[in-house]
């Protein structure tokens, strides 16, 4: 599904200088797998998610990202969306004046258009949006507002999962989708994710807490620090981390922070 090979990426800072954040990152996720990435603040987890989804301001200096044979780094953000890459943002942005329904319709049809498919008719769209939003406990009131405007922290995260459910991508990156969620909302979100697990779709779940991984069972857990993966294990690694903290893992590695 996705193969990230020796990825190096820098941010362009205002004064024109570059700061390397991703420093030789390797990862392979097979179809249907769920991988979790845990790591201390500032490790570069969100930066990785931006580089994968094609945000401006990041420069890939070496390495490659391959999604089902496609060179992802050669594509702009909308093309990556059409390939099936989806990022659930750590901090979803508010878009005043752009109504939720208008936005969701535009997104669905934009992806369909890139696939050479017909636009979805009004009735089909209504059914799709209504059905998915109900499942995720998103109220009609939220749907009548502008994108993320006036949404609580938890509502914003649920809205990310709603978009994911509607767009049906094949590679989903969830950046701290659990933070800011109460226990019930976390269950709703995890159910939403689990419903999308179909043996084909792959997930990269970035989180600080083992708790989410109780609900979304990962196949593989990675620890990321200072721009690269420093340890990989099974679901047990997250439990071990919860118990011992990062100190042990960081201290034992050469070139650690």
């Amino acid at each position: 599904m996705i193969k990230i090979n020796n990825l190096h990426a820098s941010v362009e800072i205002a004064d024109g200088t570059k700061k390397e954040i991703i420093k030789g990152f390797n990862l392979e996720i097979k179809p249907g797998e769920v991988h979790a990435i845990m790591g201390p603040n500032g490790a570069g987890k969100s930066t990785l998610s931006y580089v994968l989804s094609g945000r401006d301001g990041y420069k890939v200096t070496s390495g490659s990202v391959d999604v089902d044979g496609i060179d992802l780094l050669a594509l702009n953000p909308e093309e990556r969306a059409a390939v099936g890459v989806f990022l659930a943002f750590q901090y979803p942005v508010e878009i005043p004046g752009v109504n939720m329904n208008v936005f969701l319709k535009a997104a669905v049809n934009a992806v369909r258009k890139q696939h050479g498919e017909e636009e979805l008719d009004a009735l089909g769209m209504l059914k799709l949006i209504k059905g998915k939003s109900r499942e995720l406990g998103i109220t009609d009131d939220m749907m009548s507002r502008a994108v993320n405007v006036g949404f609580s922290g938890g509502e914003k995260k649920r809205n990310e999962i709603l978009q994911m459910a509607i767009l049906e991508p094949k590679f989903c990156i969830l950046d701290e989708t659990d933070s800011g969620l109460d226990i019930d909302a976390m269950k709703v979100v995890a159910e939403g994710v689990n419903k999308l697990r179909d043996g084909e779709r792959s997930f990269l779940v970035i989180t600080h807490y083992q708790r989410l991984l109780d609900y979304i069972k990962p196949d593989v857990v990675h620890i990321m620090a200072d721009g690269k993966i420093i340890k990989t294990g099974d679901a047990g690694l997250a439990l071990e981390l919860e118990e011992k903290g990062y100190g042990e893992f960081l201290g034992g590695e050469e070139g650690a922070v």
Partner: protein
């Protein structure tokens, strides 16, 4: 209540003007200074006390090549009268339209005034608006500036009655080398009145916009609530905007503030939309439309606001397709 008329022989010189961005003498140029003056055309919209008109009054001012037009519009609403006035400016060729507008609102009168300025691209449009508001009067004024090579829109409002509420809203869509000045003087003379100024501009190519708005709260105007907001999105490096918000307050216990922003479209929402599959052009259109629609939605008539949104959308599509 004489109209303040800008006579071409009495044009202000840069020295006399507090604000020097538009040099009218120079902007008009030799050709336009020689245009044939036309006798003032006058239109009066007059509603008697308590009269509520169900249909809007339509006013259309056409511009003709080589003419110096001097239209005069007077809107007089007596106590508790209600009306909607829709004004269109259009034309062809090179001309100078020097407009004078006077609005008088009696106690409790309510006016919706929509002004759509879509002059010929070679026209100069100057418009002096004088507004006088009495007790509990309501004004909802929306202005769209689209056409013309040089526009000056001066609005002088005097709130003489307590409880009056004045809304001045506007959208400026400018491209090429268009220049548009909006100058507002909002005078709160009586206590307990509310004023809102909400202007948004989209500037492309080497267009130049100016917004200078002053809220002047007189000594007796206690409990004045005044707010002023001017936001601009620049679509090109060559476009320029100057904003000068001013508050001049002589009364106690008032609530007045202002805000202005000028810059390129925010990168974050743009990326958010693109990451969901929208093309860059589509994402830009959606965001900029939302930005201007927020002002257009202040018009409390959906047919009218719908038509203005269509005009704005057409303009934006043309600009964004070039990018």
């Amino acid at each position: 209540m004489s109209l303040r008329v800008l006579d071409r022989n009495a044009l202000p010189t840069p020295k006399q003007e507090q604000w020097k961005y538009t040099n009218l003498q120079k902007a008009l140029g030799e050709d336009l200074l020689k245009v044939r003056p036309q006798a003032p055309e006058q239109i009066l919209v007059h509603k008697l006390a308590g009269e509520v008109s169900s249909e809007p009054d339509m006013v259309v001012w056409k511009g003709e090549n080589g003419i110096h037009h001097q239209p005069r519009l007077k809107i007089l609403l007596e106590d508790k009268a209600q009306a909607t006035v829709i004004e269109h400016h259009q034309g062809a060729g090179s001309y100078w339209k020097n407009m004078g507008t006077e609005i008088l609102l009696g106690a409790g009168a309510q006016l919706n005034y929509i002004r759509i300025q879509n002059e010929s691209i070679d026209a100069v449009h100057t418009d002096m608006v004088h507004i006088d508001m009495n007790r509990d009067a309501r004004l909802n004024f929306f202005s769209l500036n689209l056409g013309g090579k040089l526009m000056r829109h001066d609005v002088h409002t005097v709130i003489n009655g307590s409880g009056a509420q004045c809304q001045l809203n506007g959208v400026n869509l400018l491209r090429g080398s268009q220049h548009c000045d909006t100058t507002i003087l909002m005078e709160h003379v009586a206590p307990n009145s509310v004023s809102r100024q909400f202007y948004r501009s989209i500037l492309d190519d080497s267009a130049h916009g100016v917004f200078q708005g002053k809220v002047h709260v007189h000594k007796e105007a206690k409990k004045t609530d005044g707010y002023q907001l001017a936001n601009t999105i620049l679509l090109s490096q060559g476009a320029r905007m100057n904003t000068k918000p001013e508050l001049e307050i002589y009364a106690d216990d008032v609530k007045c503030s202002h805000g202005t922003t000028t810059g390129a479209l925010d990168e974050e929402p743009l990326f958010y939309l693109r990451s969901r599959g929208l093309s860059e052009a589509q994402a830009r259109l959606l965001l900029i439309q939302a930005f201007v629609d927020e002002v257009i939605d202040k018009i409390n008539d959906e047919t009218q606001s719908g038509q203005i949104k269509d005009l704005a959308e057409k303009w934006l599509k043309t600009q964004l397709e070039q990018k």
